[in-house]
Symmetry: C2
Subunit: 332 residues, 2 copies
């Protein structure tokens, strides 16, 4: 086996978030499904941006957020994803590199612009996302760095990539490289609507041997077309070696080889912005797992990282997660 | 007199802030004077950006922040300042417009990029600023909208504009238009080092008839070349009709026609980032003044707006200042 250089390497959309506040009426007026992620084209993106209030820009992207979380916990993380050679692309590159994540995907020249996600945060802290993918799906075969994937304990794949054929090809390529190298693969289902769009393919991918599956309640019930979380959880436990199911304030359920571990959510004084809650839970969990920690500790690390991220605006940690984890006795 | 359409119109640098955290050692290593604003050229900006940690982007610019604060209090504000037709320029335009400020300066085509300020926030909440002015000083004569200035009760001028000859010309032009229209002018000294660079010109401008002067302790003592705040305050009271002197946690001192009003700072649970404290104090004060409120109420509105801004990252309000002011009984 190739020498291990990273704990986790991810492949995902490289996105800068543009985060503003709105009330529930604004979502209704614009026909937006609260809590979901919708894809928007250029005119829809410009219209929505024109209508929304003042915003802040913070680097994002689901799997990229997860890798930054792992780095913040002291882990070694890498990311593969495509930005353009424009201002938002340079911002994305700066932020992920400065966070300590290995990132070397070349910036596209004369391309569509860097992906951005218009995120509307309602007074309850819930986020509703509208993603303009731009250049992000144009990751080509040569840019999926085989050496990076072969040297990582776990390759983490973002379900959102399935929304574009080109990105899906990169996703499948990464999976094949990881398996051939005897490495583990992990998949996050990303979003309930995303699952709806790609249910059959996700199921075949999972049954075909994804080692670790991340999903929230909404996503896992959408995958198994049931309204019962328990039923969906049973199916997930049958289909995959390790299923990690998050349930917001109700905590998470970890299912592995007949074993079932329930983990409580970490307390948060005020939920400011839920953007990145799932991404950071995955960061804590994957950090723990790749460091050989027991499943309940992995879950608590996930809860801790998620609690930090929802206590402020944006999906990148504002404080050292390693320090927080040491304070809670989850890290020595 | 022209019909009054705005309470305050400002002319200043149009800047997007790039805000990251660092420790005191980082400032020392990079030779940065804590709490100050330094101008940087392209190579210095790129070097510092490369070295600093992950950041967030939030629209800024001292006078622009003040206008957004006035709009957040329910006032009518306008802004004149130059951005490029690039991504950061579009972000600046969106944010100031979405905040309710009248802003119509055309974006420059094929120009230097939009100005950005690399802001380093140390653990004590103090901010150290490094400004790359880019296209901002290229505001030309035709772009100082005479009609906008003539229709505003107060024209507010940013001292930072003095750092470039072109911008200084726009500044003088705006002053002349306001005076000819029988309107009031206000000046903020912006920064102690900025005062050091332009002391004689600032003094002549003030003695020549600026109606309202804003300065903090550092700036006013630099202007009058004294270490004594009381001495500097006495000189300011002699030189201008209305001097508004801020002293961080020690509150503010308002001097007008022999009258002297002391106002306490508003309490803040945790100082997160002092960026924009002076800008937002000026917003509260100018809103009160242009609405005919007594000087002590103007000062308390300033303290309230400053307290909101230093309780989070960035120099644009995160909550409605009008709502906060109503809760405190400062606005009905």
């Amino acid at each position: 086996m190739t020498e291990t250089r990273h704990d986790v390497v991810a492949i995902g959309n490289a996105i800068v978030d543009i985060i503003g506040r709105c009330d529930d009426a604004f979502l209704g007026k614009h026909g937006l499904a609260k809590g979901s992620m919708a894809l928007v084209d250029t005119p829809a993106m410009q219209k929505l941006y024109g209508d929304m209030g003042p915003a802040v820009e913070i680097s994002g992207g689901s799997a990229a957020n997860t890798m930054v979380g792992i780095a913040s916990l002291g882990g070694k993380a890498g990311f593969i994803g495509k930005v353009a050679d424009d201002e938002l692309g340079r911002i994305f590159c700066h932020d992920i590199g400065a966070a300590g994540v290995t990132y070397a995907t070349p910036r596209a020249k004369n391309s569509l612009p860097t992906a951005r996600c218009l995120i509307l945060v309602t007074p309850d802290g819930e986020r509703t996302m509208n993603t303009f993918l731009g250049v992000s799906p144009e990751l080509n075969h040569g840019e999926v760095d085989a050496r990076l994937i072969e040297g990582a304990r776990i390759t983490y794949l973002e379900g959102y990539l399935f929304d574009r054929a080109e990105a899906k090809a990169a996703f499948r390529q990464a999976t094949a490289i990881a398996r051939k190298a005897g490495r583990q693969t992990a998949l996050t289902l990303s979003d309930g609507f995303c699952v709806g769009r790609h249910r059959a393919e996700f199921l075949s991918l999972i049954r075909d041997g994804v080692d670790i599956l991340f999903a929230n309640e909404n996503e896992i019930t959408a995958l198994y077309e049931t309204t019962s979380f328990d039923e969906a959880a049973k199916s997930a436990a049958k289909d995959t070696k390790l299923a990690v199911l998050t349930r917001s304030a109700k905590g998470s359920l970890i299912l592995s080889g007949g074993e079932s571990v329930s983990v409580a959510a970490a307390p948060v004084p005020t939920v400011v912005d839920t953007t990145g809650a799932g991404d950071l839970y995955a960061a804590g969990f994957l950090f723990g797992l790749s460091h050989g920690r027991p499943l309940d500790v992995c879950g608590h690390l996930g809860s801790l990282a998620a609690a930090e991220i929802i206590s402020h605006v944006g999906a990148r940690p504002e404080t050292s997660l390693a320090k927080l984890a040491r304070e809670k006795g989850l890290l020595s």
